[in-house]
Symmetry: C2
Subunit: 218 residues, 2 copies
């Protein structure tokens, strides 16, 4: 019984890892679609989001099933509830990748961001990629130190986000309001993506140590 | 035992209603802070957000406790898990109100939005207020028809959101990039606020009817 329970808990973690892989692909493709004005890639991100939704549903149903049948307590219960919450974060991260892809699609055949902003967007895309890759390892290892590093990576994302505003608000900005609005939205989507990664990290720290960190970011 | 369980489930719903009341106050005050450039009101929203976080924590602890002790199944389990998820939505709505208040604080003593945008922001504030008031009734009554109305109110929010973009992207816009960026962010915060209200509605419909609606908005 107990062994079976742990197999099922592992299946839950595997579903979370599947969700992480889907999210990683989504944000990577969305970034490339954005940077290269690649319509087909943008479309693929938008339509792939359904897979993430159905994985989340699958996870929730497994979790509720497990709750009903096995009635776990203490640590097992905590793992279950936390998996449930992490799935919600990953689903939101997927939605943010989809938002980026939708921007790319809306502006096609033009690029969403002007040339002088592109390097910053590339850096943000890189940090987003790093974060989701690290989230995957954190979920596999439940290493609280690695989870805490997500906060540091998020600081870098925040720095890039502030830099974006400096660029669009500088007097030399020559691309007008629409481009500034698009850049603002892109920046916000990446920044939120990073915040959700940090929240996953905090949930894993809670799992590993029982310590609840100060209120969630955002 | 069963009666006690239902008392505890009711206590959970009461906590959700408390969260709804806090969220309603937050968004109303944030809107007024934004529209009147009222620094003290903005500060009050920012600091009150902690109360919402601690109510959410209280709800989660109650829910986990109840899961561990009472091991509910079927409908009871569904109510519990759904309450848990609704609390996450309300917490996010509170954060969005706080974002609005932070914008008001950042631009003080100036107003965040130029005069010609103010009527639309007032309308959005009104819809946000209507939505959270309706969410409260929906949580009290679990009326799926009323819950479905949240979708209609959200359509109005989306319309206002699109209108904002028309104003800031019009050739006659004379307030420059910074004001446009601020308006973009305000618009996005209200629009997301409405999306979360719709999600709460969908979760209540699921509770009331067992029907899961198509993928969450956002």
């Amino acid at each position: 019984m107990r062994e079976q329970f742990h197999d099922e808990l592992q299946a839950l973690t595997d579903t979370l890892l599947d969700m992480t892989a889907l999210t990683a692909t989504a944000v990577r493709n969305a970034s490339n679609a954005l940077i290269d004005a690649d319509l087909a890639l943008a479309e693929s991100v938008i339509s792939a989001d359904e897979q993430l939704d159905s994985k989340q549903l699958e996870l929730e149903q497994r979790a509720v099933n497990l709750l009903a049948r096995q009635q776990p307590v203490a640590t097992d219960l905590r793992v279950l509830v936390t998996s449930f919450k992490i799935a919600m974060e990953l689903e939101r991260m997927g939605k943010l990748a989809r938002h980026l892809a939708k921007l790319a699609r809306m502006r096609y055949p033009n690029r969403v961001v002007p040339d002088e902003v592109t390097p910053t967007i590339i850096d943000m895309a890189h940090v987003a990629d790093l974060l989701i890759t690290k989230v995957r390892t954190v979920l596999q290892t439940r290493d609280p130190d690695l989870a805490a590093q997500l906060d540091v990576d998020d600081d870098e994302m925040d720095r890039l986000h502030r830099h974006l505003f400096e660029v669009i608000l500088a007097p030399v900005w020559s691309h007008g309001v629409e481009a500034a609005v698009d850049v603002t939205l892109c920046g916000r989507f990446y920044e939120r993506f990073a915040d959700h990664a940090v929240t996953v990290g905090r949930r894993v720290i809670y799992l590993a140590t029982g310590e609840r960190l100060p209120a969630d970011v955002g």
